[in-house]
Amino acid sequence: MNFDEVFRRLYPSLFRYLHRLTGDPDAADDIAQESFARLLRRPMPEAEAKPWLFTVATNLVRDSARKSTRRERILERVRPTPSAPDAPDVVTERNERITLVRQALERLSERDRTLLLMRGEGFTYEEMARAVGVAPASVGTLLARALRRFSAVYRLHEVGDESHR
């Protein structure tokens, strides 16, 4: 496996996937780098590197989220007064739409979200099935349902958002 070549080819895709998943560019970069660092210790054929990397990265996100949730629970008791939110006129329409997308993604189950985002990175159904642990034949159905759910929530938010303007 030519690591440099694999990195050059897959890092932008993995970063984009992780940023879409976490919404945090620093975490996305950090987890992407950590996944590649682990790949260095596990040489494998190049064809297998992509699903392996994305699966490891998804697991790292899950572990990180679990720890954050634990900390957040404690944080609720000691959190200082939050700073005032930005004034409405400062928030751009783009930011509002980004928030809508995030809300719609968060309404999905972790598996559905992972499937949709992996599809966005050009994964085959076979690769997605391995990554989330389902039968390859069920991927199309799961994706179609997830797509419908996302679309329904996103469109609902869009309509709600526009009616408030």
Partner: protein
């Protein structure tokens, strides 16, 4: 007529069907209005998702390369040989202890017992007293230095009553604590794989590069020394005089108390 299920229709859009299946599904969709509508809806939902996700995107950091990943992996590997050696030493001592147990009052037995206690303590990594702290200004030059043990510590000399501690590329599960102390000095202690980080020092500054999982404790004095904690170039904690600010919010922390800093930058906990 049996309709085509949505999973198969989406597989058609995604190019996942065999040629034979594709022909069959396409022929059906041409003749079936309900399936044609479903296919159009799926295509529309797919386009909507793609456009929505594109809103979230930003370019990947240009400064990250295969080289930076290799550096990160190499920094982490440094921690493992020592751990393996300690395990091997503990095993040898274990066998020796068993052997010497047959000889009552043997001085070897006493020695093995003491060494065993030390080995187990080193392996556990948490039962030893606080690690020795080197003075950065005296013992470590402003060049890169490797932390020599699974526990390491440095004192940072303030420059004009200010200290910057910068953490670069921390492991996702690294725990960082900021502890307010009554001493008039800034110290950084690393435990676990975090101790394999590279430490770069300069007057009034300490860079902790690629700390692995484990724990970093940053001791900040309650006195009038200003301290800034940066993570990947972003200021997460800043102490100006007695005031401590974490992720933009004021936090009350008295001497002897500590906060856990969320390195993703979203907050802190006691």
């Amino acid at each position: 007529m049996n309709h085509i299920d949505e999973g198969t229709l989406l597989a058609l859009l995604d190019g996942e069907l065999s040629e034979e299946e594709k022909s069959r599904v396409e022929a059906h969709v041409e003749a079936c209005e309900a399936c044609a509508v479903s296919l159009a809806e799926l295509r529309e939902a797919s386009d909507r998702l793609e456009a929505a996700l594109a809103l979230l995107d930003r370019p990947a950091p240009a400064e990250v390369s295969a080289w930076t990943v290799r550096q990160r992996a190499a920094a982490r590997r440094m921690a493992f040989p020592r751990r393996a050696l300690l395990r091997a030493a503990a095993m040898v001592l274990g066998f020796a202890a068993v052997g010497s147990a047959a000889i009552p009052n043997s001085p070897v037995r006493t020695w093995v017992a003491a060494a065993w206690r030390h080995g187990v303590s080193a392996l556990s990594g948490g039962e030893d007293p606080a690690p020795a702290v080197a003075t950065a200004a005296g013992d470590v030059t402003p060049e890169t230095a490797s932390a020599p043990t699974p526990e390491a510590g440095l004192v940072v000399q303030p420059e004009r009553r200010r200290v910057v501690v910068s953490i670069e590329s921390p492991a996702p599960d690294l725990v960082a604590r900021v502890r307010v102390v009554s001493d008039a000095r800034v110290a950084v202690r690393a435990r676990g794989e975090a101790a394999s980080a590279r430490f770069r020092t300069a007057p009034g500054r300490l860079d902790v590069v690629s700390p692995g999982s484990g724990e970093l404790v940053i001791e900040v004095p309650a006195s009038q020394i200003d301290v800034t904690l940066e993570v990947n170039g972003r200021v997460l904690v800043s102490k100006r005089g007695p005031e401590l600010t974490v992720a933009g919010a004021r936090v009350e922390v008295r001497p002897g108390e500590e906060i856990v800093v969320d390195l993703t930058g979203s907050g802190s906990v006691n």
